[in-house]
Amino acid sequence: MENETTNILIVGVGGQGVLLASELLSETAMRAGYNIKKSEVHGMSQRGGVVTSHIKFGKKVYSPIIPYGEVDILISFEQAEALRAVDWLKKDGVVVTAKTRLVPPIATGGKFHYPDDPIADLKKKVKKVIAVDAEQIALELGDIRLVNTILLGGISTDLEFDHKLWEEAIRVRVKPKFVDVNLKAFARGQELAVAIKKAMA
């Protein structure tokens, strides 16, 4: 159908760089000649709340919101958030999540419980789960905020955009000072994804 789209959902917690990641992805898709829309809601939620970004691209895009059960790729910067969003996924969709655990104060009081192993729970629901210790790589590169670009590098292997376009997007969208380290982070994510896929095959 003309209005068939590729649907990507990015989730995380306020401050984790969900919005930058979705900007980079959108910029790349636009440069690849796609029509693209994305939607997120800023405001209150950013004070420690869940941040969600919907991205839809294809020939024709109507609303910027992905319908339930139609996400092709779910990217999460936090384990439990991947679990929260997993039902948006298509039957054969992919989840790529960081192993980061952010336990909010509300789950320290005893009333609410942070799941012991969200990734194991995910695997019960979805066949293709890729969980990476992006935090560790980000720290190696010197900045924990690079988790978003590392994961983006990872999912780039599932999309057909030319590497040059990703690089251009990073160059125009990231502050000049941080371009190089983001390019490195992106490459690390790519390498990792290739290695994981090999191991899974």
Partner: protein
Amino acid sequence: MRRFLSGNEAVARGAYEAGVKLAVGYPGTPSTEILETLAEEYRSIYSEWSPNEKVAFEVGIGASLGGARALVTMKHVGLNVAADPFMTFAYTGVNGGFVLISADDPEMHSSQNEQDNRFYAKFAQIPFLEPSDSQESKDFVLKAFEISEKFDTPVMLRMTTRISHSKGIIEENEPVKIESVGFKRDMQKYVMIPANAKKRHLIVTQRLEKLQQYSEETELNVIENNGSKIGIISGGIAYQYAKDNLPDADYLKIGFGFPLPIEKIRKFVSSHQKVLVIEELEPYYEEIIHAAGIKIEGKKYFSRLGELSPYKVALGLKEAGLLDKTAGAQIAPAELFPRPPILCPGCPHRGAYMALKKLGVAVTGDIGCYTLGVLPPLEYLDTCICMGASIGNAIGMEKVGGYQKGVVAVIGDSTFLHSGITGLLDAVYNKSNITVIILDNRVTAMTGGQQHPATGYTLMGETTKRVNFIELAKALGVESVHEVDPYDYQGLIKTIEGEINREGPSVIITNRPCVLMPKRIGDRPYRVIAEDCNGCSACFRIGCPAIASSKELTEHNRPKAIIDPVLCTGCSLCAQVCQPEAIVPTGEPVKVK
């Protein structure tokens, strides 16, 4: 050039292309980024934050009467504040084009209500336009200015959160050349004494007839003919959700929403077997269409609460018999802990709530980050109605003896300047015994850190005079005015206690800046000495995101606390409530007693 812009950025671009000379507003989600984009990217336009929406609207009127194109931005509830000039400006009409952006917030992502401002346009008898994506957000701004000048009327552009904050690709154009025409004295038109206003009211009704004609003809209300027996009447984001589900139906897409093109609608309806109206929030189109005696269905299938979505629209279409495929499965919300918004580590508002809770007073609240004091574990805020309401609410409650332990109003700096000053004046004038705490973090934090009259900077980044809250309170007649450090827990308790027991109104001003603005503030982080922590959980109860429960348990099986050194800003409030003195600054030798 093609660019990927949010609806708000596209409106800013539209203002630039339309030759706007002055843009003005007051921050409010989801409208804020329009002026921020103008101030950053299109600096040839003079733009400013006013202290509130009413002033902003009046500044916009002045610019229009002065002969320039003016843009005024606000969130939906902002128009309640600006309703007075809005209703009468509809009578005088414009000189330079005037466009009001009303950014509504269906679903109340960041608002206290979800009023549907399309009714405001009808109320004031002025036209409104409603875009359905970023490209239209830009195009409709240009259209709105043309309509404003052609029909001599202010025009409202109604945005919603989804349109304002979603992004899409737009095509940029060169700005049009507009010469400012200057002010032309015309007392009969601009001085609304009753004799003149009566004449103007007649002109408003005549203008409405012309607008009705325009609505029938304009391509803003467009029919998409796909040869279907099913017709959909829709506008704004709802139109896109409908297209997601029924790409091949016929559409009457409404871009010009008041007055509605009734004859076009009548024809559209009569030439289709079944016609549905799909609109977000209230049955605004539906009521008008019904009143014209045209048979359609709408809210019977679609909720008037919250936002619509592709999914909700699919459900409605299915119920109406227009969609047979099962529309995605309803998701059982994952059984997970919530992540409510929370005061930041080191937030200066935290101390005030800790002290108020300790004192057990009634707290009338207001709108800003500090409203988060209502959420667990602080949970110590009793009211929140609208901006500026805290002081009036406190006065009333205290006058009737509603709460014996004392009534305290808490209000942010931006909110106090927006609409708290007159409340405080009332407290002095009518001899109220309330205590007002101005939580001065020197920024409009909730909406992302905008300047205001007490920050020392303008929207465009110039330095300017700063209001002095102490002098201001004294000038209003408040005799007891204190400045306190909100990181000093005992000091806060003492000051507030002293003031609630005192006759007459008092003002307490907290003096620590927002930890996020302009740069994230961090001091030496604190840490927990695990051997000394007795698991009492006093530090958990101040609701700081930097404090978590450790895996390590006390002998009574209670979790000990740990502090994340990256998040901790060193405000020390947790250390001040720690009985065993187990929380200490890092870098110090173990506890000095």
